[in-house]
Amino acid sequence: MEFEGEEIDFETAFKELEKITNRLESDKDGLEESLKLYKKGLNLCRICEERLKNAKLEIEYDGEENLEE
């Protein structure tokens, strides 16, 4: 399946998910294509949820060490 094992980041996955949602809502595709989109969408949902659950804020510090004057 597409995106399986790929290192896709949250933002890309979520934007793709929104695109699929819009396309499915527009009801333009046939059953077979819709099924494909459905599977892809669910996979993206899972990726997004995993990314959110496992997320840990990464912080890099830089700049002046001085305190306020």
Binding site: L57, I59, G63
Partner: protein, 422 residues
């Protein structure tokens, strides 16, 4: 008694600060502040003086007391008018107003701060130099279009990397980290400390903003917690404001208090009232995202189920139609017969037409050959008597009669001279 106490204190101070000796005798903070207050109270110059300056940070407390800072280009002093004195001030002081305060300079022991205890106040100018300069700067930058809404950059919906420029160990940075780690921990943070107050602040902030740009962050938060106007005036600096206006990354500012907008706030792409709200404005909330994902999942299922149901319904209709045709197959035979009849009829009509056309064509040719004009063309002529009657035989005329001989191109009048029969 008091003098004796002061002398002892002075002695101790000299030992510690002037002669570099360190005595084990300790003082409390209150003792030192009391001592300094005493020194002030002995100086006659501090009583009944007039000080001119520009008002800033004016607060009219509900108790009726007035608090503000009196300042000039280089320096500032705290000033208080207690209710009794405040009540006799004939005008309402405002930030930026130039006034002369008449009062005493004394020490507020609790804070270890010297200040003016106002007695009366006179207004000199509605707007002081500092305020004028600030207003002029705002007008100039506004005319140049630096504050135009159409120039403001859009904040990304899902930033990958957020840059934060704030003071080291300030409440602002703590609040921002707390909010972002709670709302959207997926993001990467680049915290670049800067000096946020005083002379070196402008250069330090610009340097940190440049570092953020170098790190290719998607958005920058420039945050500074509350403070007096003097603490925050660095954010009215033209160099800093111009630098921010030219920066390519969207920038969210949260400078000072909610109601006081610095010039940096005016030029930034989005102004937040506090560092916390700045953090909340740059990233979505994880709770909402989970909700959205669940909504999408539901929607996927609903769309697919509907599609399948629609197809099933259509299939059912087709099946019904098919059954109908199977059952009524007998009719099809008659349809076929009618169709053949139609074909045959069309063929017969065509044949009939063709035959009629041929007959017509023959007649047309015949008619054309009988046209008298064609006879004239061959050299024949028509002969008429005096009554315009056709003469088709010599028997129908006599010698001496005048006849009209008609040719194709004209007539001749002739007289019969001789007659002979064949």
């Amino acid at each position: 008694m008091l003098m004796g106490f002061l002398e002892v204190l002075l002695k101790q101070f000299r030992k510690i600060f002037i002669y570099g000796e360190f005595n084990m005798q300790k003082f409390t903070v209150s003792q030192i502040n009391r001592f300094i207050k005493q020194i002030f109270s002995f100086e006659e110059i501090f009583y009944g003086i007039n000080i001119e300056g520009e008002i800033s940070n004016f607060k009219y407390h509900k108790t009726g007391h007035m608090y503000f800072t009196l300042k000039d280009e280089k320096s500032s002093i705290y000033c208080v008018f207690f209710k009794e004195q405040a009540d006799v001030v004939s005008f309402m002081p405002e930030d930026g107003m130039v006034v002369v305060v008449h009062g005493d300079v004394g020490v507020y022991e609790a804070y270890g701060r010297y200040q003016i205890y106002g007695i009366s106040m006179k207004k000199v100018e509605e707007e002081g130099n500092l305020q004028k300069k600030l207003n002029m700067l705002k007008n100039k930058l506004s005319k140049e279009g630096l504050f135009n809404l159409e120039n403001k950059k859009k904040l990304p919906q899902f930033p990958r990397k957020i840059g934060v420029v704030a003071a080291n160990k300030g409440a602002a940075i703590e609040d921002i980290l707390k909010i972002i780690s709670k709302r959207f921990p997926v993001v990467k943070l680049y915290v670049c400390y800067a000096i946020m107050q005083g002379k070196s602040a402008v250069k330090s902030v610009i340097k940190s903003l440049k570092l953020c740009e170098k790190k290719e962050v998607d958005i920058i938060i420039l945050a500074r917690g509350g403070g007096s106007k003097e603490d925050l005036e660095v954010f009215d600096d033209e160099e800093m404001v111009r630098f921010i206006s030219e920066i390519k990354t969207p920038i969210v500012s949260a400078i000072g208090h909610e109601n006081d907008w610095s010039v940096v706030d005016l030029v930034s792409d989005f102004r937040a009232s506090t560092p916390s709200s700045a953090a909340a404005s740059v990233c979505p909330d994880i709770v909402n995202i989970f909700e959205r994902i669940n909504t999408y999942k539901d929607l996927f299922r609903r769309v697919l189920i509907k599609k399948i149901e629609d197809l099933e319904f259509r299939l059912m209709i087709y099946k019904k139609d098919l059954k109908f045709f199977q059952r009524e197959r007998g009719f099809l035979k008659y349809f076929e017969i009618v169709r053949n009849f139609k074909k045959q009829l069309r063929y017969l009509i065509y044949k009939k037409y063709e035959k009629c056309y041929l007959v017509f064509e023959k007649k047309r040719i015949l008619l054309s050959s009988l046209n008298p004009e064609n006879i004239f063309k061959k050299g024949f002529a028509l002969i008429l008597d005096e009554n315009e009657k056709k003469i088709s035989s010599v028997k129908r005329t006599k010698v001496g009669k005048v006849l009209n001989v008609c040719f194709k191109d004209g007539d001749l009048l002739v007289e019969v001279v001789k007659k002979s029969l064949r």
